[in-house]
Symmetry: C2
């Protein structure tokens, strides 16, 4: 597990280098915006989504007997960095007083605390536009068909029928305790799952995966997304603020129904492990070892152990 | 002028038809989000940006002796609708309590008043993602190179060095009265100008404009953008709430410096007319009449007369 964490860390540094190189900076009238965009994107989090993009691509290249070239790797890093920027935008907006009202994120002040509310709203907006600017830039991804398809898949994953739709439902049904398991799953699949699945999807586009390969990898991502969320709900109950980098017991405090409040701790733990195993089984269907994707599936349910 | 307003109205209806057909709808857990997205996008405003996209394309097709086919028109309507959706997203976020705190927009409750703050934030976010989903969709724009280039140009225009950057500076320097004319122009060129210029830019991409044609049309849009903003500042002073569809005297109330507070009413009026004339001169360089683009430049400074 320590070896895997080193791999995660190395990947995270690579993504930070990209973000640092290409996120805007300067001293103009809008310089506070640049600072806010950088504050929440660079050097934060484990960047599991980025790792999933890069390792999905590396795996597909091995499965299809293609060279994993430097230029292909660079395309993966581009898309992975963009997805992390989008993840950061969503966290900045989620933390706002009008949303979850969270003062702490990734062990430091949330964006709106460090800056102010209007800057946090605009930094999120600007990160979202930046993401599409980078994906659509011919400097980073050579094939225009792929640039366009990745924009499409990504926009769909994070829109009203994806990530943002899940956040809306999560907000609208906070403090209501009549949600059933199916509804909790719907919210999770949209709020967190859609962007995680998208990671394997965009790698499949970049590496010309067959329909079968694409669907296996997307299902793999679906399962680790679900395992990840259930583990998160368990950590919200058991974890501590310093290792989580954000306040814990939030769902209990806000009376938000989640996997643990509905299933109970024991069944939720079992379900997370099942999802992780299903993910590993899907990788094994490729008849080629992928130590990194298997480790990721295991890590998902063992993050803070 | 009445004939021109009829043309604007007809164009606006066409855009509303597109928005109504393709904005999401449904009864899921996220249905409030769909309602909020539609509330602020459909049936609101004169849709001057959309008109500029469509008429730039129609003009380029005449200038280059190409048929203005139905399919080309449909591509213009797609991009025009997307730009209006982006304009709507920016207004929803601008009106939030953490930003301009405006309760009224386009003659009705602002989005966060009609719904609530978290829905308004998410509706803006979702409209932004929807915009890129539509542009990148092969169903609407045939050529992947153009889909990708339009995504790029649009994302740049509305990002941290464009529209959102301008809004950030506008917010950060509200209530400060030491801004000079150059800084006011910088803010306007970013906050309002960048998206307006983008309208002619994307039409130039769709219609394979020469570099010269593209630069003339973008300059035309720059001038009408500036004329439009100065006229807006004048209307903020002289207009009335019912014809503006939003509260007036806001800049005076918020002590925000603008073209009128810096130049005075007379000089500001003169400057707006100059910008409108410069725009018309640029169109005349094409040696082909464009009644619609000339009317638009005139209308910009005569909106509420």
């Amino acid at each position: 597990m320590i070896e895997f964490q080193n791999k995660l860390e190395k990947n995270s540094q690579e993504i930070d280098r990209f973000l640092d190189s290409y996120l805007p900076s300067g001293n103009g009238l809008n310089s506070k915006l640049f600072k806010a965009m950088r504050y929440s994107s660079i050097s934060g989090g484990k960047k599991i989504r980025a790792y999933l993009v890069v390792e999905s691509g590396r795996f597909l290249s091995a499965v299809n007997n293609k060279d994993f070239t430097r230029s292909k790797y660079n395309e993966l890093v581009t898309v992975a960095s963009v997805i992390e920027a989008i993840h950061s935008y969503s966290l900045i907006h989620d933390d706002l007083p009008a949303m979850d009202n969270s003062p702490i994120r990734r062990g430091k002040d949330s964006n709106h605390i460090k800056f102010d509310d209007h800057t946090a709203i605009l930094a999120g907006d600007a990160l979202l536009s930046w993401a599409f600017e980078i994906i659509a830039d011919s400097k980073f991804i050579v094939d225009p068909e792929k640039r366009s398809e990745i924009c499409f898949v990504l926009a769909k994953a994070i829109g009203s029928n994806g990530m943002v739709g899940g956040q809306q439902a999560d907000m609208d049904f906070t403090e209501q305790n009549y949600l059933n398991l199916e509804q909790i799953e719907w919210i999770q699949n949209h709020k967190t799952g859609a962007l995680i699945s998208c990671c394997s999807h965009v790698a499949s586009i970049l590496f010309n995966a067959s329909d079968d390969q694409k669907s296996h990898l997307i299902n793999y991502a679906n399962h680790i997304g679900l395992a990840f969320q259930i583990a998160d709900d368990l950590l919200d109950l058991d974890g501590n603020e310093s290792s989580m980098g954000k306040p814990v017991m939030q769902d209990t405090k806000n009376k938000t129904p989640n996997f643990v409040t509905i299933l109970g701790k024991e069944k939720a733990t079992k379900r997370a492990l099942e999802e992780s195993c299903k993910a590993i089984n899907l990788i094994q269907k490729f008849k080629l070892e992928s130590e990194n994707l298997v480790s990721l599936a295991k890590y998902t349910v063992n993050r803070n152990k």
